[in-house]
Amino acid sequence: MNALYQMWAIARVEYRMQWRQRGMIVIALAMLLIMVTTIVLMASEFNTDREFRDKFATASTDAITSLTFILAVTSVCVLLPFVLVNLIPRDRQIGVIEILHSTPMSSTTYLTGKLIAGWVTALSGLVPGAIVMAVLWYIIIAPFNILSYLEIWLVGALPLMVINVGLVIVLAFRMPDSRMAVAVAVGVIVLPWFIIGFDPRNDWLDIFNSFRPGVFFHYTDVSAIDDEIGALSPTITILSGLAQLALAWLGAVAWLRWRNGY
């Protein structure tokens, strides 16, 4: 019970700090700006007429689904991990970690708390984005199938965020400062994409690809941008991603236990 309370406190404080720093706000604003610009641009492309808006729901759903997924993938897979990777290294760099470790909180609680903090902060950036985008789209362009839209956030983007943000936080937990933390993020996010490439025909190797191509190609297929269907199913991609996260977390916890004797 105490551990839960402690994790909650970590998440709350981290959330507060991330939003008070300029970085998170700038990124959130940039995301909103990109969304609004895209919607305004699409509005002129779509040349929607109010009378036909309802007839247009299928196309509109397709368009917002694909657009959302592209924005979500860039923000979730690239931006957020870089912003949130140094949650633990930063504590070490500024020297607050000694105070935190003198409290009865266990290292596992600390690690898990930071993980949750990363997720909460990322979510707090994504949810307004998702809502603003949906509302603007509905008003400016056309009605769309809200369930499909929700699905792409909950089943597509959310697991990606959980996996990618979680992986970088856990893998960077030993790093001494934010420079090394960012190096870890480059290693986890940029490197696999670079080495494995971005090809729907890749199969099992792609479970390590930070862009989670199984999910990506699933949604490009659903939204009719592209007929290509990835060799990996989204379910396998997400499950293997979660498994990697779980393994990384277990490894970190085991290391902490060995190192600290508990």
């Binding site: 970590i10 700090m17 020297g95 105070i99 003198s102 009865p104 004797g261």
Partner: protein, 288 residues
Amino acid sequence: MIEIQNLTKTYKGNIQALKGIDLTIENKMFGLLGANGAGKTTLMRIVAGLLKPTDGRVTVFGHDMATLKGKQAAKGLLGYLPQEFGLYQTLTAREFLDYVAILKGITDSQRRQREIDEVLEKVRLSDVANRRLKSYSGGMKRRVGIAQALLGNPKLLIVDEPTVGLDPEERVRLRNLLSDMAATCTIILSTHIVEDINQSCNDLAVIRDGAVVFRGAPRDLIQNAKGKVWHVTTDGERPNGGVAIVSTRQVQEGVQYRVLGQPDSLYQPTAIEPSLEDGYIWLMNQQP
């Protein structure tokens, strides 16, 4: 009561920070004196459960620090002020203390509120508690550090160099605060400022190169230097001949030196009463 038996700590590169320390610390204010790099901080961190000893045994109020359970229980009784620490710049003092209070297990928000108010009052930060820590001066940040250590009514308070960066008034206030606290809790005060110990501790240990070289009351340390402290006045020439100069003062007749040891009678030394500082320096000057 804290018991430390045969404690050693060896860092990477075979650097021996602690070489078999045995200490028993009773429930009162305990001073830990030593030069920089003597191993004070390592010892404090081990007692606080932040470092694992290479060998030896530490129990804090009967809790064995080698076990998870013991360590967790001990940390529940602990207030710790590290020598060097940082704070989250974007939080206010109150938010930061609230955070630490939760981590210390104070889950009842009303109690937390009350305790935060209390410690803020104790370190005299109530007026600025809602300002971001970014705007705090060095001394104020140190006081936030002290405040967080006081949270949760610790049974054991470990303070590493608490007076660094405090102005004289704050330093006196802190000493008094610690003395008051000593009535209900054990305090380990680590410092290289002898004056701090002299004013507040009845029990102290001196550490040199990772080993305890003195254990006892301040007056015993003073006693050691009895008859070895002298005033020597010259016209500027430094007195030589195996003496340590404690202080130098310009006086009308020339330069007055306070020296430790046995100065040459040529200088016509006058014996004076030793202070704790004299005792400490005398100890440090002994060959190990």
